[in-house]
Amino acid sequence: MVVMKSEKFDYFINGDKGKYEVVIGLEVHAQVLSNSKLFSGSPTKFGAEPNEHVSLIDSAFPGMLPVINEECVKQAVRTGLGLNAKINNYSVFDRKNYFYADLPQGYQISQYKNPIVGEGKVLLDMPYGSKEVGIERLHLEQDAGKSIHDMDPSNTYVDLNRSGIALMEIVSKPDLRSPDEVNAYIKKLRSIMRYLGTCDGNMQEGSLRADVNVSVRKVGVKEFGTRCEIKNVNSIKFMQMAIEYEASRQVELLESGKEIDQETRLFDTKKNETRSMRSKEDAHDYRYFPDPDLLPLKLDQKLVDDLKKSLPELPDKKKERFVKDYGLNAYEANVLVSEKEISDYYEEVAKLSDNKLAATWMMGDLFAMLNDKGLNISNSPISAKDFAELVQAIKSGEISGRIAKEVFEIMIESGDNPKKIIETKGLKQQSDPKELEKMINEILAKNKDKVDQYKSGKEKLFGFFVGQVMKSSGGKANPQLTNEILKKLLKG
């Protein structure tokens, strides 16, 4: 079985009996950015000592009553609006019953029949064009605590710090067709939520994780195949690996005439395989019912309208504007709007220098350096103002692109601004035609033999002369001017 990739959509699995398409839907769990938990006043901050961020509500003491955090509700509405989704003015909290050590209530407060947000859509930019992915719903629910299994051979340790933090579960329609599309979808969701400030999208800290539904069907078949759900995958790479494994496994089953069991599976990152988590007899029976502790949540349309008015410019709109106002191509605009901080940095640089050059230098040298050092734009050692000065120096012809790379290196090391570096190191480009001509004449005089060879037809030597000029000017000679003068003088 070979999996192929190309510029045109081409993610299929070729079996002996035909070509299969992979159908993927995601349930993304995104931690809501808020100070306190969904139903209690405990802090949500990551990294506290075990059980320090726990109230009697989060640990489900008898007689405790949950009271909803209005900011979490607003965050869910903002996210819904960012996903172009229908906001439901009436929604209900239900109890989802299951028994596990890190769920002290014995049920999770979630939303079942009446979620706070209904259908919406997200646009993905794929190499083969724009792709729309449907959103089925978004609902609010509580996170569970954390079980630690490796501290003791016979006991499990439970930390409830995460218990009760608000999550948004964002359910997509089964519209995704490849691991690349899953990658683009997660990144787009993350980007939208980070723009909105509703989720920090930090996958290492578990703020964003997903259950992945995978099924396969022969190309051309309209009905969906039987799906398997891979639980709680916490990185894009693992999602992609799990999908590739799971799709191949299902095709193999079908090809050998077997049936696929609808089941919940677990992705083992060490073995790179999915395996059954629980058998059908143990399948969860959640017995949802409306939580009697919580009245239905009714949203005032004015609140929704006000939130809508206060939304920031989102990536899709910003991309359009970058193409229109800054003359960037779609690819550049896409990269530069991917994170709000990157787009802010770009706009500051562009305003102080040149739109196109700013984009080129940011996406080239700046990103490479940040990547190298494991930094991101927010903690870049070079400020937008200094970077703009560098781009402007290139634009005005003060320094060449080659010298700019040198200045850039010195900026990282010293933290100095480009003007100071160019002045103190004497790196200013030599653009005075008279001085350049004088220098070039000297070089030609020193290399009379080569000049003769050039004139008798060995035109490849032109590069040698350019090299000599650069060498004796310390790389500071204006390249264009050098070319012009050399050509003129060598003709004479």
């Binding site: 209690s40 006043g41 109230s55 009697l56 209005e70 596990y100 439970v158 988590m277 009245l295 949540l297």
Partner: protein, 95 residues
Amino acid sequence: MSLDKEKIKHVAKLARISVNEAKVDSLTKDLNSIFKFIEQLNELDTNKVEPLTSILNQSLRSRKDEINDGKIREKVLKNSPKDSKEFFVVPKVVE
């Protein structure tokens, strides 16, 4: 709707209630007669009636996003049978 013995055992398991095998028969009989009584409600057509979740016609009370709880680990862990001072300790859970 009627309940058989297997269903009774399943519900007991979900509810984490241990049911003595000897009691299953009498429980099945009792619960079935209760269900039969409740079944009468199905005679009503409730297709167009929203489920009543509360008799109070008011919306959910909410609170501001403020931190005013937590930092009471000792209190939270006080009643846990095995206390490690930092964690709840429970019999090994293996998935």
